[in-house]
């Protein structure tokens, strides 16, 4: 795993993709700072970009990488290594390289604008950690989809649909349920639905941490009243970690049964 990880990371980090992705975050962050020198404003603006864009790029890139390296994966499968080591190693390589591009692209301007002497430092770290979790979760989901679909076009379609569903459609359904059933106590349902969507979870986690009541929304308030601010943050963070481990388990399981 460590060797596969090391080489796939090394391959990816020098690729055009990683470098463009890094530059993209670098430019976005610099542009945001040019509008406002207020670190906390920039943090809030980044929230929405990270929550929507990180999952999209991670799932699309994960899918493309998987299909593109099909033949090399086959060569690896012919070596005396356990199957799970190959896929876990590749998964870690992609997720880490994407995370690094994001961390550096966003981090460098913040360092320049004095994040280390700002009171916003802990919020900033939570945003970056959440973004990192999202990278890992969506690369893992991409691997599951790619392992399940030999057909590239199908796999790519499923991946983008899953993103669309979790990032956009889910909230619509959620809202509809709240409106339709507003006569009933919906706190538990809202809570459950949030735990089932890593994008919503990430949003809640960051908003609870930022503690901006204007952004809190219904589920944020539910989390707050059920678990308190700190408890809510811990629960959301723990759920995100579960969201990484369960798909990883699926990757190992599916890859053990698959033909290459």
């Amino acid at each position: 795993m460590d060797k596969i990880f090391r080489y796939s990371f090394y391959d990816l980090i020098r690729g055009r993709w990683s470098i463009s992705y890094f530059l993209f975050y670098l430019i976005i962050t610099i542009v945001l700072f040019s509008f406002s020198n207020d670190v906390s404003m920039v943090v809030i603006s980044l929230l929405n970009i990270i929550i929507v864009l990180v999952p999209l790029v991670a799932i699309v890139f994960g899918i493309i990488y998987f299909y593109n390296s099909k033949e090399f994966t086959e060569l690896l499968l012919a070596q005396p290594i356990k199957r799970s080591r190959i896929f876990v190693g590749q998964f870690l390589g992609i997720a880490t390289s994407l995370s690094l591009a994001m961390l550096l692209g966003i981090g460098l301007p913040f360092i320049f604008y004095g994040i280390f002497i700002s009171s916003e430092i802990s919020n900033f770290i939570v945003i970056l950690l959440t973004g990192t979790c999202l990278n890992f979760i969506f690369v893992a989901l991409a691997f599951i989809i790619a392992l399940k679909n030999n057909n590239k076009i199908k796999g790519f379609g499923f991946a983008t649909l899953l993103w669309l569903f979790l990032a956009v459609i889910y909230d619509g359904i959620f809202l509809l349920l709240l409106i339709l059933f507003n006569a009933y106590p919906l706190e538990r349902l809202a809570l459950g639905l949030t735990l089932l969507n890593p994008i919503d979870l990430s949003r809640i986690l960051i908003i609870l941490k930022l503690d901006v009541s204007a952004l809190m929304g219904y589920t944020g308030a539910v989390f707050n009243s059920f678990f308190g601010n700190i408890g809510g943050i811990f629960l959301a963070a723990l759920s995100l970690i579960i969201w990484i481990t369960i798909p990883l388990f699926f990757i190992i399981n599916i890859s053990n049964k698959r033909d290459f």
Partner: protein, 234 residues
């Protein structure tokens, strides 16, 4: 000497029944060639030996040990995949180093690099290599170790004539050293020149397995090509 035995091997990809009960005893070392039309399951058979394709039923064993749920036996097998595609941003040297690290064994690359003229490309990124050079790299990865078993899937595809000559030299040497070498190819002259035994796959079954001369005798034909044509019409 390693004994590779395949028993009652069946494999379907959804509705596509590719292998329909394959029985093979690789009873002697030397060069065995798997022949068969496109999509007859040659690659699938080789991948099954490597545990990459999981059979629906049947068994494969090496020296009496089943390969099911095992991966350590792959240390004894060298494999040349049909299609060569490597990580774009690694250099040739880095890739060769990676394979050796994964196998925990140092390969003998010096003579291969010379024979396949790879020296000028050692520090080149793989995505800039030509198809032929990639195939030479593919071959170097497959041939850098002395192993009891070699599985080579269409080894000559994309090679220039000089590389083909060098490859034949290497294969003859491996044969003299008593290795079991299984290749697939469509190139009849290569078969005539090198092969000891022929396996002919057709519609998921073994249509012929035996000595080259035997095949020619069976159909009393002058050339191998004619015997194969006769076999196909049978």
């Amino acid at each position: 000497m390693s004994k590779l035995v395949i028993r009652e091997l069946h494999k379907a990809f959804s509705k596509n029944q590719v292998l329909k009960g394959i029985d093979l005893d690789f009873s002697s070392n030397g060069i065995w060639t798997i022949l068969g039309p496109n999509a007859s399951g040659k690659t699938t058979l080789i991948k099954a030996i490597l545990g990459m394709v999981i059979p629906d039923s049947g068994n494969i064993s090496i020296n009496g040990e089943t390969i099911t749920n095992n991966w350590k036996y792959k240390d004894k097998i060298s494999y040349l995949p049909q299609i060569a595609h490597f990580p774009d941003n690694l250099t040739v040297n880095e890739l060769l180093k990676m394979i050796q690290e994964l196998r925990n064994r140092t390969g003998s690359l010096e003579s291969l690099i010379k024979e396949f003229d790879l020296k000028p490309f050692l520090n080149t990124k793989i995505d800039t290599l030509s198809g032929g050079t990639k195939q030479k790299l593919n071959l170097s990865i497959a041939l850098m170790y002395k192993n009891p078993i070699y599985l080579l899937d269409e080894p000559t595809v994309g090679l220039d004539p000089i590389a083909v000559i060098n490859l034949k030299k290497i294969l003859r040497k491996l044969k003299r050293e008593g290795k079991l070498i299984i290749i697939t190819t469509h190139i009849i002259p290569l078969v005539e020149e090198l092969t000891d035994k022929i396996i002919f796959l057709l519609e998921g079954k073994i249509k012929f397995c035996g000595l080259k001369a035997q095949l020619q005798q069976n159909y009393s034909s002058k050339s191998l090509e004619e015997s194969i044509a006769a076999l196909l019409q049978d």
